[in-house]
């Protein structure tokens, strides 16, 4: 609703902060019950928070999570549940890595190579999600099922293609198997941070741009309006001239295209090839991050950073002797308590709003009026 009164800000902050404190308490409780020290845990985490490398890694992880979250959110905004981001980005990363690493690319100018790689990834992601969209609009197949199936099929397809007989090669002296590594000109150099051996993915700016575009399209364009309308009420959308089928196709394609980007920072900024150990499962994290950030461009950014940070503190916890599962538990508890907190605050807001309407209509009688 975009009102920035003091109360709105306080309410807006109360939910996430309260929830964070609440989840911290729960985790402290679990740790104490199992004979671990919460204080040491906090120490380890704050030590991690002061280490530039952890912060850089957190930012980098958050970048990919954020892209995945935006991909999921585009669907969520119109009640489409794209569980398939995971398969989409893996297939996209694998095929675009093949393209980027291909020998003929070596002679092309750097900018062109990178652009082609990224576009290829977006196209592959969109094509894969497009299958789900096609099945939905022509045959009414629930996108929940089709994307679950397509995730698995993507896995088999990738492992079929990632084979020395096809698109990949054995890594010399290793048990790994990867696409042909991208040579110098096809990479995107990271930003050096003093005190950290890791570099910040330059494609963090891509994520920022995607977030900005997401916000802009959603709030400032006709398309975004129609997307939101469809999500709020399919029947109202139809009555107001929105072609829901087209919206399903467009938003699935956009979601898939953004999903295609998920693997790019890692591919172009660190791995330079798609190999067996290319990170998997980011699509599912994206769902959690999108939900936690309430599909809001800034909210998701905060959620992605938090998630990335928690992920990257696991090593420090391990060093401190705290079971790393506590991080996962904390992530789960945070999601739940944040949404519970938001729900409680939302109820409070609705009441307040009705109160306001009631007063404006002059229907409200104060107790004194009633008794007099």
């Amino acid at each position: 609703m975009g009102r920035f009164s003091a109360r709105a800000i306080v309410l807006g902050l109360a939910a996430p902060l309260g929830a964070l404190v609440f989840s911290a308490l729960i985790c402290a409780f679990i740790l104490m019950v199992t004979d671990h020290s919460p204080i040491e845990t906090v120490d380890a985490m704050s030590a991690a928070a002061q280490r530039p490398r952890t912060l850089v890694n957190s930012l980098n992880t958050a970048t990919t999570y954020y892209l995945a979250a935006v991909a999921v959110a585009v669907g969520f905004k119109m009640k489409l549940f794209n569980i398939g981001v995971d398969g989409q980005y893996r297939l996209a990363a694998m095929l675009s890595a093949t393209l980027a690493g291909a020998a003929f690319m070596d002679s092309l100018p750097s900018f062109l190579r990178i652009t082609m790689t990224i576009l290829a990834a977006m196209l592959v992601g969109a094509a894969w999600s497009g299958l789900a969209a096609l099945l939905k609009v022509t045959r009414g197949v629930s996108e929940v099922i089709s994307t679950i199936m397509l995730n698995a099929i993507a896995t088999y397809l990738v492992s079929y293609l990632l084979n020395p007989a096809r698109l990949a090669q054995n890594v010399p002296g290793s048990n790994n198997i990867s696409t042909r590594p991208i040579t110098e000109g096809g990479r995107v150099d990271g930003l050096v941070v003093t005190g950290s051996t890791s570099k910040i993915f330059a494609l963090v700016f891509l994520a920022v741009a995607v977030g900005f575009l997401y916000w802009f399209v959603l709030t400032r364009t006709r398309f975004g309006f129609e997307l939101k309308t469809t999500g709020l009420s399919e029947s109202a959308a139809v009555a107001s001239g929105v072609s829901v089928k087209k919206m399903v196709v467009y938003s699935m394609l956009i979601s898939g295209a953004v999903a295609g980007l998920v693997g790019m920072p890692q591919l172009l900024g660190a791995s330079y090839s798609y190999a067996l150990d290319f990170p998997a499962g980011i699509g599912f994290t994206g769902i959690a991050v999108a939900l936690l950030g309430r599909n809001h461009p800034v909210g998701m950014a905060v959620a992605a950073l938090l998630w990335g940070f928690l992920d990257n503190t696991a090593n420090s916890l391990d060093v401190a002797g705290v079971p790393r599962e506590i991080v996962l538990i904390m992530q789960g508890v945070i999601v739940l308590s944040v949404v519970v907190a938001y729900e409680l605050i939302r109820r409070y807001r609705v009441r307040a709003e009705q109160h306001e309407v009631g007063r404006a209509l002059g229907r409200t009688k104060t107790l004194e009026e009633v008794s007099s």
Binding site: F223, F225, E226, S235, V238
Partner: protein, 514 residues
């Protein structure tokens, strides 16, 4: 099975509510309400939208708990914590909105919460027998094994009554049971009510249709702003007097003063036929022409193809055959969006489902359906400032009561939501307005305002297709009347001469063209 009536009549009212107060956040729905209902009578409750009638009845039925006050049933004070308690005390309620699960059978809907058992299972045979019995006894004509989805409104209404009777209720609450019925169905219902009354049952009856109230009630209580303002006998009042008690002012009348009909056809339907997935004809060769400045009223029992007609005209549904022309141009294959851009305005029948986005602000709702046009859009971008300014204008011109244009539509009452919709559709200066039940569930003030706006636009050459269940509105607001029955137009009437009864019998297929 529920117990029978708790107390002996012995001079006590069947139910009595004393000093009932109920507050909602920001609203006092009931304040110090007192009503006594004598056993074996029909007691009517009237009042404008939001007067607190439904809330009071929900309190009596245990769905809401009063903040203050006491309920007596048969002279005994009771405290209901859930409808189950009220049912036990012999109270049953038919709600303003149907309370039916469409995907369950009539039997399942009826016995829910009060199932006959055999062992751990539901005793379907006993249930079926009992329902048939009740249906036969009161002439309700209900088959327990029908799926509720397949039933029309009238039948659903009867299922609701059956549900109450099945529970052995001695006191029946009917919240606006006639809103969706045609006169013949209303008569049937009233026949049923009289029969029930004759058996000693007590009936609490809510309606906005004052002549109905006068014809069926033994006693009438009027509510205004949450309190009872009068209790009268039908013989002592007229409809006009009742309305004044309700609102403190005169009742508006739907009427068109002078004809503005021209001979310029604006919207033409030719041979429209629509079939369902399983091959039934939902619309059967429907043809008509609406001219500039003309209001064509369509009368019909709900579910006879009105919704399909409107959807076909708006491009939401594709006809199997037939064409639609707008100002001479064939628009049969045109998309909804394009039709709207070409000058079609649309007030949908279900405002919550089709008319507004409840979880969006008023100014966003202003954009809805007009997202491609000024003042809401510039090219591919939204013009937020333009939309907001225009929303402010609508709020003022159409008297939408709201603290600001930034609140969600869900915070507005139905009448105010409807005024916003009408204002929105009128602002684009359409050539044709498809208006489905434009004043349904809207209070008298808002109703008058909406009629006024339609009249004014008609004077400026607007062509209107008006669909309404309110026959007075149809007759009063139309230049031409057509009756739709089972998807076909079966009769035409001149609104100047037709009576609601004539119309009603044509709608049910009883009468033929006059």
């Amino acid at each position: 099975m529920a117990t029978q009536d708790t107390g002996e009549p012995g001079g006590h009212p069947a139910v009595e509510l004393t000093g009932i107060t109920k507050r909602f956040p920001g609203v006092i729905a009931n304040s110090d309400v007192n009503i006594a209902v004598q056993p074996g009578t029909v007691h009517a409750l009237v009042g404008e939208n939001g007067a607190g009638k439904s809330t009071l009845m929900k309190i009596l039925y245990g769905m809401q708990r009063p903040d203050e006050g006491t309920i007596f049933v048969g002279g005994q004070p009771v405290a209901f914590t859930s409808p189950a308690d009220a049912i036990k005390a012999g109270i049953g309620m038919v709600h303003q909105h149907f309370m039916l699960a469409d995907n369950l059978t009539v039997l399942e809907n009826v016995v829910l919460g009060n199932e006959p058992r055999s062992g751990p299972g539901l005793d379907f045979d006993t249930a079926r027998r009992r329902i048939r019995e009740i249906s036969d006894n009161y002439g309700l004509n209900i088959d327990p094994d029908d799926l509720v989805d397949d039933l029309g409104v009238g039948a659903r209404q009867r299922v609701e009554i059956l549900k109450v009777l099945y529970r052995g209720a001695r006191t029946l609450i009917l919240d606006e049971p006639t809103a969706v019925l045609v006169p013949q169905e209303v008569d049937e219902l009233f026949g049923n009510l009289r029969e029930l009354k004759a058996e000693g049952l007590t009936i609490l009856f809510i309606s906005h249709k004052l002549d109905e109230v006068l014809s069926v009630a033994d006693e009438i209580t009027v509510m205004r702003r949450g309190t009872t303002v009068a209790s009268v006998l039908p013989k002592d009042v007229t409809a006009r007097k009742l309305a004044e008690l309700m609102v403190g002012s005169a009742l508006p009348v739907p009427e068109l003063r002078e004809s503005t009909v021209t001979d310029r056809p604006v919207l033409e339907a030719r041979g429209l036929t629509v079939t369902s997935a399983d091959g039934r004809k939902l619309l059967d060769n429907v043809s008509f022409t609406i001219h500039a400045g003309e209001v064509l009223g369509i009368a019909g029992v709900e579910g006879n193809g009105q919704a399909e007609l409107v959807e076909t005209l708006m491009g939401i549904r594709e006809p199997a055959s037939g064409t639609v022309h707008l100002a001479g141009k064939d628009i049969t294959r045109m998309s909804t969006k394009h039709r709207r851009e070409s000058g079609m305005g649309y007030i949908p029948e279900d405002r919550h489902r089709q008319g507004v986005l409840l979880e969006a602000t008023l100014w966003e709702n202003r954009i809805l359906g007009h997202q491609t046009r000024k003042p809401n859009a510039r090219g591919l971008l939204l013009d937020r400032r333009g939309a907001r300014a225009d929303t402010q204008r609508i709020v003022e011109e159409y008297d939408v009561r709201t603290p600001s244009i930034d609140v969600n539509a869900s915070a507005l009452s139905g009448g105010n939501q409807q005024k916003l919709i009408v204002g929105r559709e009128m602002s684009s200066k359409p050539d044709v307005l498809i208006a489905s039940h434009p004043t349904r569930g809207v209070d008298v003030g808002a109703q008058a305002a909406i009629w006024d706006h339609v009249r004014r636009a008609r004077a400026e050459q607007l062509a209107v297709l008006l669909i309404s269940a309110d026959l007075d509105e149809l007759i009063g607001m139309s230049d031409t009347l057509a009756v739709i029955l089972r998807g076909a137009i079966v009769a035409h009437y001149d609104p100047a001469t037709v009576t609601p009864e004539e119309l009603g019998s044509a709608m049910t297929g009883a009468g033929r063209e006059g």
